[in-house]
């Protein structure tokens, strides 16, 4: 076994798991800590992904039907000059957060289910726009050549994959640390108070609406970052990746790991990705008739997992740590 093979196999598992963990950390703040059912995870991820892709490729869209004179048919709305990766990722996070707040303002004031349905509908609208407006976003499969971090220094292939894995892991550590710190602050505890009993929190002088908006903004920013990293790794943005199923995957991860515990969300992502990786590996050893259906079996198991966890162990693998005030 050569080292190239080992690195490629390792990144095959670690990179999707790490990206899923970052996404789950964003969702965990909203669902786990604040109790908001945001069903538009895929949209915030998609917006972050496309904005990052547009900014870093610099209005160049790969055109698969290049006309004879050689100039591409259309360009997307990115800037004339490509941005650096870090400002582009920051812009993706900010725009995802702003969108999250814009959707949340009208729906947060209503019953909890309305947020779920409105965000799910919003996510579908976003996906349709990403897919159809080619002049704006580059459209389906044509926003390509998105750079990876250190793209100019590291050669393509296994080295590039390995470096990306390290960058993603470093970012995961940063986000996890930020989430652990955030949720330990008075602000983080107020979020939990809002989740447990909004009226009681209001009576104690906490502004539940503003707290929820803050949770939505920060969570959506992290989701935008996860989207940006995803397209950077793939080098191409695919709108059909941001379907509602992506949202539900993120929920499975958070609930499996333990809602309300950032470490649990990370653990959930790595366990969940192991399951997905194993089914992909199993494809090679199974008869053809079964490989056609293995993705469906995979998703049936995910669905059953959701149901069984909700019934038998709603607190997940790593339950939320109980907050016990220290004695002075």
């Amino acid at each position: 076994m050569s080292h190239e093979y080992v690195v490629l196999q390792l990144t095959n598992y670690v990179v999707p798991a790490t990206l899923l963990a970052i996404l789950a950390l964003g969702l965990n703040l909203q669902w786990g800590h604040t109790g908001l059912f945001n069903a538009g995870v895929a949209a915030y991820m998609g917006v972050g992904a496309y904005l990052f892709g547009m900014l870093t490729t610099g209005n160049f869209a790969a055109d698969f039907n290049i006309p004879p004179d050689g100039t591409p048919d259309w360009l997307h709305w990115g800037p004339a000059q490509p941005w650096d990766l870090i400002p582009a990722a920051l812009a993706a996070m900010v725009v995802a957060a702003v969108l999250g707040v814009l959707v949340a303002v009208p729906t947060l004031r209503l019953r909890a289910d309305y947020l779920a349905i409105a965000t799910l509908a919003f996510a579908e609208i976003v996906r349709l726009i990403l897919k159809n407006e080619r002049r704006l976003t580059g459209g389906d499969q044509t926003l390509a050549y998105i750079p990876r971090p250190f793209g100019g220094i590291v050669t393509e292939g296994w080295a590039s994959d390995g470096v990306f894995m390290l960058v993603a892991l470093a970012l995961l550590v940063v986000v996890l640390y930020a989430m652990l710190r955030l949720t330990a602050t008075p602000w983080g505890r107020a979020l939990k108070a809002v989740r447990e009993d909004e009226e009681a929190a209001e009576a104690m002088g906490k502004n539940a609406f503003v707290l929820k908006l803050g949770s939505i903004a920060i969570g959506c920013a992290v989701m935008g970052l996860a989207g940006a990293l995803t397209v950077s790794f793939q080098k191409v943005a695919i709108p059909d990746q941001f379907v509602p199923f992506t949202t539900f995957t993120a929920y499975v991860v958070v609930i499996l790991g333990g809602s309300g515990n950032p470490k649990g969300a990370v653990l959930g992502a790595y366990v969940f990705a192991l399951f997905g990786w194993a089914t992909q590996q199993a494809k090679a050893y199974l008869p053809d008739a079964f490989t056609l259906r293995i993705d469906f079996v995979n998703q049936i198991v995910i669905g059953l997992m959701l149901i069984l966890i909700m019934i038998f162990r709603p607190e997940g693998m790593m339950p939320e740590e109980r907050y016990v005030p220290r004695r002075r």
């Binding site: 309305y114 579908e124 726009i129 897919k131 407006e133 469906f296 669905g303 909700m310």
Partner: protein, 358 residues
């Protein structure tokens, strides 16, 4: 001799006395006419299609609203119950080679059975935890979609139903299909009337409304709440089954059929007022018509060069209307709860003028 102002005063007082639902229908007709004047034949045709599609949404939405009223959670698996109905029809009609009428008979039975099983195995255990039930229903949706995909493979399939030619309505250039349009409308209207009779005049329907109002009070008044809940699932499931068969005839059969329709059904339920079956009926009609009309409008915008997507944005029109309704009348058209909305309510919620930093 009454002046123009007098006529206006008369008219506005008359409008004020009309019930909400008739006003909504009036506005809808006005909207159709307005778009129709600008775009012409395409819009009128879209309105006809919209009424037909809307009548299917009505079947799904009224059942969803019924279960929401009693169980108090948004059931994300309701659309997939419709898919089950569509595949029952497909199995009977194509695999077993029977007449489609068997589908109409058996699909509601099978789907009602599935709904009862879901209640007994899953939702009953999650009583009093609406968020957990919502997430479990997402899991159920995934399981149903993928079990169907694994059995039938996710290809788009068609039923073996002979549909007569569209007949054109004399001289207007509009067309209407006797089976796809007429039969669908007739069945939907029959079932809406059935639901109305059940809710208003039968003991079961009254018990359902009582449970939706206050389940503890219903229990103490001697209503067997468990049985009422099971019957609610039977009604919702059989309506979803019928809706699924009609979707299979009008559209086609594929595993994500119901999940795609689910968003429109949710839009219908929200526009009508969540938990109110009559509101859901009105909402279904509205969503169907708006969806098809907005498809035409988006198509025109594509021709004008403003958009590239065109009719692909059809769902967006319905969702936008849903979001607008949420903004200006969050309790829905037929809902009862009143909340302070608008700019003033927003400012109150933010406590903006106090300048308190939190």
């Amino acid at each position: 001799m009454m002046g123009l102002a007098g006529i206006w005063a008369r008219a506005s007082s008359l409008i004020g006395r009309l019930p909400t639902w008739s006003l909504v229908v009036l506005y809808l007709v006005a909207a159709i006419a307005w778009v129709g004047v600008f775009i012409g034949r395409l819009a009128w045709q879209a309105a006809i299609q919209g009424v037909v599609v809307g009548s299917i949404y009505v079947l799904g939405a009224s059942g969803l609203s019924l279960t929401y009223g009693i169980r108090k959670f948004a059931n994300f698996a309701h659309g997939d119950l419709m898919t089950v109905g569509a595949y029952v029809a497909f199995t009977l009609n194509v695999v077993a080679g029977q007449h489609i009428a068997w589908g109409f008979l058996l699909a509601p039975l099978v789907v009602a059975l599935v709904a009862i099983l879901l209640e007994l195995l899953v939702f009953r255990r999650l009583e009093g935890r609406p968020n957990a039930a919502l997430i479990a229903s997402v899991g159920i949706a995934l399981v149903i979609q993928n079990v169907i995909s694994a059995i039938f493979l996710p290809d788009v399939k068609n039923l073996n139903v002979s549909v007569p030619q569209d007949f054109s309505i004399g001289g207007t250039g509009l067309s209407f299909n006797a089976v796809k349009g007429g039969l669908t409308l007739a069945i939907s209207i029959t079932f809406i009337v059935l639901m109305h009779v059940m809710l208003q005049y039968t003991t079961l329907g009254k018990a359902m409304r009582a449970c939706a109002d206050d389940i503890d009070l219903a229990r103490t008044s001697g209503i067997n709440v468990r049985n009422v809940i099971l019957w609610t699932w039977v009604v919702a499931g059989s309506f979803a089954g019928i809706g699924g068969v009609m979707l299979a005839i009008i559209v086609n059969v594929y595993p994500y059929l119901g999940f795609f329709v689910l968003l429109f059904i949710f839009a219908a339920v929200i526009i009508g007022g969540i938990g109110s079956p009559y509101g859901a009926m009105l909402g279904g009609l509205l969503v169907g018509v708006i969806q098809k009309l907005s498809g035409v409008v988006f198509g025109e915008l594509k021709i004008a060069g403003a958009l590239e997507g065109g009719a692909a944005y059809e769902p967006a029109g319905a969702f936008l209307v849903m979001i607008i309704v949420l903004l200006i009348r969050p309790e829905g058209l037929m809902g009862t709860q009143r909340q302070r909305m608008g700019a003033r309510g927003f400012r109150l919620r933010l406590r903006w003028p106090k300048g308190a930093v939190r």
